[in-house]
Amino acid sequence: MCLGIPGKVTKTFREHDVLMGKVDFSGVVKQVCLEHVPEVKIGEYVLVHVGFALSHIDEKEAQIVFDFLKSMNQLDELETPSPRDGPS
């Protein structure tokens, strides 16, 4: 129910004085209310829930998960694997 789907903003316009836009979800384009992410630019990603953009996705922050994984790789090289790490 609290589904939030990332999509790319392809167009913005105003309707009844509310900021709206077209958002592309990997090929499926929907009309979305952008009133609460007014800073978003065309080409950027928003997180959409029931036709409403809740959040502007931060690309730098999105990278953090993968930076974390990279740092784990470096740690792996330093650490001796524990006996529990059998083949998975």
Partner: protein, 381 residues
């Protein structure tokens, strides 16, 4: 980067699962709050790749599940009125009330329509000035901004034929109720990522401090969830209990301030009854008096509704993390998604329905359930 497939990468998921195994030294019970997260766990078999010391229990974060039976009966009574166009998210249509569900009402002639967004219901009201358009406004904090926007827009556009039947619920009071319940087993939480895109995570800090539980605000993809578990386990093993934000690509500490201002403008906090759990003080939203002309509960008087829940169903214990779907004698037998007996089976995001959809009722009967392996993560790429 499309912010989806990257977080379903099997190698990344395996690496995180291995790190969790290396970190854990003793048993821990962790609850994911959101129904969407429960769905991800069961769909990708995340619990099956975790070390046996980690037990994931499933929280109350499915708003369709916890909507009180009385409210569903009220919705049905309103939807049955002549001249009403009753609009709802699709997941509410099959939730049975005391006398059938909304789909059955539709087949009997009621004008029940599925909408993608509450804003579509506003458009419908503008196009049908001679009809009463009622939207069933359920949800957690995530859904509060779009629902509030619909009411705010209807008021500004003078659409007096638009109203909402509000049954909003809030996460922090539910987490607190779980931690205070006798026999609580939950030692750490994967916090509700999308709720926190709206509200931020500051209100979780005093909960973590008061009850000594780590809360890691977590996203909804497999890599997100495994990282959330790893961070929670790290805190538990180190004896720490703070709020961390795994989902920082979408969640800011103070959330979305415009959304919070609109919620404050349209809604006020109220006591709310949760299906399977009971009344939790200050755990819901209702419309402020300034918006009463859009309040379907006031517009459509519905006589006292009496409901009776199944005496077999243990959904209240499942929602609190005290029991698992398998512990219920009715699970997969008299209780299935087609004939749900209680809260956790009525929506696909409920723990019982998710277990059923991915074949875990077969395991409970001793048969071989289809077992997902971590290598399947990212198989759709």
């Amino acid at each position: 980067m499309k912010f989806l497939d990257e977080y379903r990468d099997a190698d990344a998921a395996k690496k995180l699962a291995a790190a969790i195994t290396r970190t854990v030294t003793r048993p821990w019970t962790i609850m994911e709050v959101c129904g969407g997260q429960t769905h991800t766990i069961v769909k990708y078999g995340i619990d099956e790749v975790l070390p046996t010391e980690i037990e994931l229990v499933h929280g109350p974060g499915c708003p369709v599940c916890v909507t009180a039976l009385e409210m569903i009966d009220r919705a049905h009574a309103v939807a049955s009125r002549p001249g009403v166009i009753f609009c709802s998210f699709g997941d509410m249509l099959r939730v049975p009330g005391s006398r059938g569900d909304l789909l059955q009402l539709k087949s009997q002639g009621a004008d029940v329509r599925i909408v993608y967004s509450p804003l579509d219901a506003v458009t419908l009201a503008a196009a049908n000035p001679d009809r009463q358009v009622v939207f069933f406004a359920i949800g957690f904090e995530t859904t509060a901004p779009p629902n509030a926007m619909a009411v705010w827009l209807a008021k500004r556009r003078h659409l007096k034929n638009f109203s909402v039947l509000v049954s909003h619920v809030l996460v922090p009071p539910a987490i607190t109720a779980i931690l205070q319940s006798p026999g609580n087993r939950v030692q750490g939480f994967l916090g509700p990522g999308h709720v926190c895109t709206v509200m931020g995570y500051e209100e979780y800090i005093p909960i973590a401090e008061q009850f000594g539980v780590p809360i890691v605000i977590t996203g909804f993809e497999p890599v997100d969830m495994l990282q959330g578990v790893l961070w929670t386990v790290r805190q538990l093993e180190a004896g720490r209990a703070i709020v961390e934000n795994q989902y920082s690509r979408a969640v800011r500490p103070d959330g979305n301030l415009q959304s919070r201002r609109l919620i404050e403008e349209v809604f006020e906090i109220c006591d709310r009854k949760w299906r399977g759990v009971g009344l939790i003080p200050r755990s819901g939203y209702k419309l402020r008096p300034e918006y009463r002309e859009h309040d379907a509960e006031l517009i459509f008087e519905v006589a006292d509704i009496e409901t009776q829940e199944s005496s077999v169903c243990i959904s209240g214990d499942v929602l609190r993390g005290l029991k698992k779907p398998h512990d219920c004698p009715a699970f997969g037998k008299s209780c299935t998604p087609q004939t749900p007996l209680g809260a956790t089976m009525v929506s696909s995001e409920g723990a019982c329905a998710a277990y059923y959809a991915y074949g875990r009722h077969l395991a409970s009967k001793g048969a071989q359930a289809p077992r997902r392996q971590l290598v399947q993560i990212g198989a759709g790429k």
